[in-house]
């Protein structure tokens, strides 16, 4: 064949569509993704009920927006749970389940405070209840029950990760055939009972410590599932679901176990008072036991997968079985569309305010276009394309937080189909779908899809370039050369580090030219590559003087291109080295986690050895090599540069090789396809990974210990609430002025570098923003200011602490 379906062919028949067509002809049509009859019974009262709660509990404006958003979530939840209940196809059911959970989680992003908590918990509990009752008990209206349950969890937002895990576990358990309802009920009932029991004690501990028992409760639930499954005759051999889904719980447990001091406190306190047989101690034992069981389950699951693979792959007398048949193009398109919508929904729900880099970009983008470009050239060290996008966005959509982030949200959502296309081109549609599912909830992709900076654009353009490259290697058509070249050029105009991706693509093309040196196609490929390089040079030429000017200015200021200058978060960037490398790998797949969680996740590196062992004997594939080259060169280059220039530790950061993120997700999907050969095992593995990523996403988004979270908005809001006319603000470091300008331009403010206000009759607020490259200087300035204020006879009336920012309220002079 002149044009093959995939770059790699596992078997002669693997890429053909005919088997799928044949089977789909005799297979009953799957149910559509839409509510079925009777759902209105639950949707309408739920929406009304939710809206009522929100109106009663908050001010009208926020309540209305919350109600509308929650209603949307409820609808999504309804549709997904309906799909789960009525689906005969595990994939559809799993996607429905995932959508439900994501929607539930997303509900928590609407607004702030107890409203969102109630809304999210309502949606979540409602989802689970509806799933169970709808599937097994055939009850229809359950809103009052939900309300009671959700009221128990009120103000306890961090119950969400645990509860989400429970919900997803239940959903997965229900979704897959071969799994008995009693197991599902146990999965649901045990953790829920534990959660309610825990909440009903009235002792509502801090958010983080709540995470521990809740997740352990979820874990206990899974232990229940496994126990139930083991007691069901004939179930275990036919379904590896409980054991594989346990992987998700293992990671959740690991995250939960990340607060040792809280665990110790949690255990010791009841031990001193009432002895060991307390709920907390019990949960600790269950949690640790559950983790052990989960590891055992993981071992069994992998064993099942490997056994199946090895037996089949060694076949001599029958042709080596091809991978499970691809889904049809039309169903793939539908699934990808659904995932894209979900991905967009996930990216739209964020409660975090803008941080320094974003407000800096906003400040720049509010200037006239030419002035902006000139200003960036003189003061920044980034190329201008993202700012131009932001410039247009502000004028077309506005400058609200949502509006500012909308372009990146859209690009983040667009990344999902692009990842699918990469997976499809390098492997097959199935792998593409798996990768797209990962991209939907991949925490780091979501994080940057919610940030008004250039990294989501970086990922998307790198993905487009990679897709173009795949098509070039397969078809060599000119239009793909154009797509590839334009994507690469736009990438460099977006972020200078995009050059590394471009270099990687050139390397790949060069290797392919060499590999094909004896084939007729070599000359065309070589010509195309040469032409593309020339086009790159021509199109990038205008950027050269711009970049050189920035480089020279940075050099003059002592930065050069070895650092990123004013960069927040530098102290949360690990030093270059293996720790940093592993941390970045963790970020790629599990996003930004609290430090103690990250440390524990990185400590799990021996699992990487296991992965290497699992790959023994698997066929070497050109696709893997190409993708590894594309992902590896930028990553290693960044680390190499960072390692060589030891002072530039802030370079060793995933965002500087963000283009590798979608490629890593495709490789992960391909890995699933390689290790697990049966369709069921693959789906379970994908479901587990999505569950793990979702859990990590929830923690990333909601845990205030996330070192990337900057609560500037909350700090400014606090000042706004406290300030009286005539009060003023001083801050350090000076770059905070962009943030103040955005959130509160009316209060008089000045950087501490300009000096401390003299004694007056009004209060002064000091803001110290942490985690800046020059945070020590900022701290010194603040300390000096506090001393001076005391010398002036003033007192510190209040001190407010938020994530990465502290506010002092200095009273008037006595």
């Amino acid at each position: 064949m002149s044009t093959i379906e995939r770059i790699d062919e596992r078997s002669p028949s693997a890429g053909t569509a005919s088997p799928t067509r044949t089977s789909s002809a005799v297979r009953p049509a799957p149910p559509a993704l839409q509510p079925t009859r009777g759902v209105a019974w639950t949707v309408v009262p739920a929406v009304v009920f939710t809206a009522t709660i929100t109106i009663l509990m908050t001010d009208l404006g926020r309540a209305l927006s919350t109600a509308v958003a929650t209603a949307g979530f409820v609808a999504l939840v309804t549709m997904s749970s309906t799909t789960v209940r009525s689906s005969t196809r595990p994939t559809r059911a799993a996607i429905g389940a995932a959508a439900g959970i994501i929607a539930s989680v997303g509900a928590a992003g609407v607004g702030a405070g107890s409203t969102s908590a109630v809304a999210a918990q309502f949606a979540l509990v409602w989802f689970v209840t509806m799933l169970v009752t709808g599937r097994f008990l055939r009850f229809r209206s359950d809103a009052p029950t939900d309300f009671e349950a959700s009221r128990s969890f009120q103000y306890d937002r961090l119950l969400l990760p645990g509860a989400a895990t429970v919900g997803l576990s239940c959903a997965l358990a229900s979704a897959f055939d071969g799994f008995d309802r009693s197991a599902t009920i146990i999965a649901f009932a045990v953790p829920l009972a534990l959660c309610i029991f825990r909440a009903s004690t009235g002792d509502l501990p801090s958010r983080s410590s709540q995470l521990v028992p809740t997740t352990r409760a979820a874990l206990a639930g899974f232990a229940g599932v496994i126990g139930a499954a083991l007691t069901l005759p004939g179930q275990v051999p036919s379904s590896a679901l409980p054991v594989l889904a346990g992987i998700a719980i293992a990671i959740a447990a690991l995250i939960a176990l990340s607060t040792p001091e809280q665990i110790v406190g949690h255990v010791l306190r009841p031990v001193h008072s009432t002895g060991w047989l307390t709920p907390a101690a019990l949960l600790l034992v269950i949690g640790a036991g559950g983790t052990g069981v989960t590891f055992l389950a993981l071992a069994i699951a992998v064993a099942a997968a490997v056994a199946s693979r090895s037996r089949r792959s060694a076949s001599l007398h029958t042709p080596t079985p091809s991978a499970p048949p691809d889904p049809s193009p039309s169903s793939s398109r539908r699934i990808v569309a659904g995932l894209t919508l979900i991905g967009f929904a996930v990216r739209t729900f964020t409660h975090r305010g803008l941080w320094l880099d974003e407000t800096t970009s906003v400040f720049q983008a509010k200037k006239p276009l030419v002035d902006m470009v000139q200003f960036i050239g003189e003061t920044d060290n980034h190329p201008p394309l993202h700012h131009i996008v932001l410039w247009a966005d502000i004028r077309l959509v506005g400058d609200s937080e949502f509006a500012l982030r909308l372009p990146m949200m859209l690009m983040g959502a667009a990344l999902i189909p692009m990842v699918y296309l990469i997976g499809r081109e390098f492997f097959d549609r199935r792998i593409g779908l798996y990768a797209a599912a990962f991209a939907t909830v991949a925490p780091v992709a979501v994080w940057y899809g919610q940030e008004a900076r250039m990294y989501s654009q970086f990922m998307l353009l790198a993905a487009i370039s990679t897709y173009g490259l795949a098509r070039i290697l397969k078809s060599g058509q000119r239009r793909y050369w154009v797509i590839f070249t334009l994507a690469n050029v736009a990438l460099v105009y977006t972020q200078y580090f995009g050059v590394l991706h471009v270099v990687a693509t050139v390397v790949v093309l060069a290797i392919e030219v060499y590999r094909r040196r004896h084939t007729p196609g070599m000359h065309a490929l070589l010509r195309g590559e040469m032409g593309s390089i020339v086009a790159h040079a021509v199109l990038l030429a205008p950027l050269v003087p711009f970049a050189l000017a920035q480089a020279m200015r940075n050099q003059d200021e002592g930065f050069g291109f070895s650092t990123t200058g004013i960069t927040a978060g530098s102290d949360v960037v690990p030093p270059p080295g293996l720790d940093g490398f592993l941390t970045n790998l963790q970020w790629i797949f599990l996003g930004y986690q609290p430090d103690d969680v990250s440390i524990r996740l990185v400590a799990l590196w021996p699992i990487g050895l296991l992965v290497l062992l699992l790959l023994l004997g698997t066929p070497r594939r050109t696709s893997n090599r190409i993708l590894l080259t594309l992902a590896g060169i930028p990553m290693l280059a960044v680390f190499g540069a960072s390692f060589i220039a030891a002072q530039s530790r802030s370079l060793a950061e995933v965002r500087y090789f963000a283009g590798a993120v979608p490629i890593f997700l495709v490789l992960l999907a391909a890995g699933v396809g390689t290790v697990a050969r049966s369709r069921r095992l693959q789906r379970v593995a994908v479901g587990s990974i999505v569950a793990v990523m979702s859990g990590a996403l929830v923690v990333q988004q909601f845990d205030t210990d996330n070192p990337r979270l900057y609560q500037y908005e909350e700090a400014v809001e606090q000042i706004r609430d406290d300030a009286r006319p005539g009060d003023s603000v001083v801050f350090a470091p000076q770059y905070f002025n962009y943030t103040l300008d955005y959130y509160e331009p009316t209060i008089p403010s000045a950087p501490l570098e300009d000096g401390v206000p003299t004694a007056g009759a009004n209060s002064v607020f000091i803001i110290e923003a942490d985690s800046f490259a020059d945070s020590d200087d900022a701290r010194n300035l603040v300390d000096a200011a506090l001393t001076e204020f005391v010398d002036q006879g003033r007192s510190v009336d209040a001190r407010y602490t938020f994530a990465q920012v502290t506010v002092w309220k200095i009273g008037p002079a006595a």
Binding site: V302, L612, L614, P619
Partner: protein
């Protein structure tokens, strides 16, 4: 335009083990060179008492790592000389007279019959097939009559398989002797591909690979086959190049005069082939290896069969080490024999590696301490990756995770074998069962299960006691071992075996081919 991958792996049944899948030499040598450098890098860091936490564990770890490196070094030395073998020169002169021995001991007739049929169809020599029946079975006698082949039955079974063959040597007179296990079905051109080497009068025997045809239907057979592929692929080619290929008991052609020069097969060894090879090489005879699948057999299909086979090999090879040490073999040959013999000590290292996370999680002791992840991983990681990569590259992808896991899950075989050798408890020659048993087999994996439980308990205890990053690291190690053990033991746990009907069809298919 395509980018279709080169798929490496198991050779096709009709394939040649050194034609399609011999990796180019430079990547192997590059990998080995890298491996050596990284081994030095790792050991230069490891051998430092400042890194020791618990001296006893540290010492044990050091011994285990040194053993592994020695095994690794032998492997690297072997594979760097891997090269394609020329086709055997054609046999010149009148057709040789060849006796084909098929020793049997109570195996099912349906297993033996295809081998006899195929043996009678061998081309390129005056072939006389003899069924050497130590089982004294009338069915076998009838089978021999039915196919008009010789039937030799001893009155006293002495010396197991070796004694059986020696007895037959006394009753036959062909210039050459071919030995096939009763489940190894030769291809008709077996002699064409091997006899030419005997043009050199110094050649005592020509060995050909063992290939398992039943790997598609049994997980253990598949894993076992992958282990065989590593040995009969890159290792045997390398050994042959070093002049140290030893006889493997089946699919092999002997020069009668060579056998007679050493008094036939040694009857006091469980691995008579290994001992015989030492004798022959010591007397200056040479061996050859034809890396082409010329006979298709059946591998162990269940855990009991596999363990039985491994136990016999381990005990025989470990028991043969003193003989190798005493021998007057050239150093290169002696090292090759020692490498093969000491391989069966590797189960000790597996046990140690599995024990270390247990010790840390339960008792809080560990071999290495006060070392950050960064530092340890920086030294160990590259060494580990390079070692795996070297095996993968050199074997052309033949060695699989399943093979590794099966080997790890039966680590106790090596430990028990050494015990039996040290305490001179001579085992009996147990013929590897030819039919897999139905149902789960917990007995051969009870030690494995015990270790799996210990690892699980260690994880629980460790996490409940101290959920620190260091604990997590050891939990991950324990999880790794747990997965490997589970994968290796899985077929025995779930009762994965070949059905007799399938088995018969396998051999029938071979005959038909």
């Amino acid at each position: 335009m395509t980018l279709i991958d080169t798929h490496r792996g198991a050779p096709a049944e009709t394939g040649v083990w050194d034609a399609g899948d011999v990796p180019a030499r430079w990547p192997v040598r590059l990998a080995v060179a890298l491996n050596v450098a990284l081994t030095v890098w790792y050991f230069s860091w490891l051998i430092d008492l400042d890194h020791a936490n618990n001296l006893w564990l540290y010492g044990a770890l050091l011994v285990a790592e040194c053993f592994n490196v020695m095994q690794g070094a032998m492997f690297w030395w072997t594979v760097t000389n891997d090269r394609r073998h020329e086709r055997a020169p054609a046999w010149t002169g009148p057709l040789p007279v060849v006796d084909v021995f098929i020793p049997v001991y109570n195996e099912p007739v349906d297993i033996v019959e295809p081998t006899i049929i195929a043996a009678t169809r061998l081309q390129g020599a005056h072939v006389t097939v003899h069924l050497l029946d130590d089982g004294k079975s009338d069915d076998m006698a009838r089978l021999a009559r039915r196919h008009d082949v010789g039937y030799i039955r001893r009155s006293v079974n002495k010396g197991a398989k070796a004694g059986n063959i020696n007895n037959a040597l006394g009753e036959t007179s062909g210039d050459f002797v071919v030995v096939f296990d009763c489940d190894h079905v030769p291809k008709s051109h077996f002699l064409d591909a091997t006899m030419g080497y005997f043009g050199n009068d110094d050649v005592a025997f020509v060995q050909t690979p063992q290939y398992y045809a039943n790997q598609s239907d049994s997980t253990i057979a598949a894993a076992s086959a992958a282990q065989q592929e590593l040995f009969f692929g890159v290792i045997s080619r390398g050994k042959a190049t070093r002049g140290a290929m030893f006889c493997c008991g089946t699919n092999v052609v002997f020069r009668r005069s060579a056998l007679e020069s050493v008094g036939g097969f040694p009857e006091d060894s469980l691995t008579e082939d290994f001992a015989l090879s030492v004798e022959l090489h010591e007397r200056g005879w040479e061996s050859r290896y034809v890396a082409e699948v010329l006979a298709v057999g059946l591998g162990p299909e269940d855990m009991s069969s596999y363990v039985s086979q491994q136990m016999r090999w381990a005990q025989g090879c470990l028991g043969g080490i003193p003989r190798v040490l005493r021998s007057k073999l050239p150093l290169r040959q002696r090292l090759q024999y020692l490498s093969s013999g000491t391989y069966f000590l590797s189960g000790w290292t597996v046990m140690l590696y599995m024990s270390l996370p247990i010790m840390r999680l339960v008792f809080g002791v560990q071999p290495i301490g006060d070392v950050g992840t960064d530092e340890f991983l920086l030294h160990f990681g590259p060494y580990f990756v390079a070692s795996l990569a070297t095996v993968a590259i050199a074997s052309g992808g033949a060695f699989t995770f399943s093979a590794f896991a099966l080997n790890s899950a039966t680590f106790w075989v090596h430990i028990r074998s050494l015990g039996r050798v040290v305490f001179r408890r001579r085992g009996s020659f147990v013929v590897t069962p030819k039919h897999g048993a139905a149902g789960r087999q917990l007995r051969p994996i009870r030690v494995t299960i015990a270790f799996a439980i210990a690892l699980t308990v260690a994880i629980v205890v460790g996490l409940a006691r101290d959920p620190s990053p260091s604990t997590f690291n050891n939990v991950a190690y324990a999880g790794l071992h747990l997965v490997v053990l589970a994968c290796g033991a899985w077929p025995a746990l779930v009762g994965d075996s070949l059905r007799p009907a399938q088995l018969s069809s396998v051999n029938s298919a071979e005959v038909a081919a």
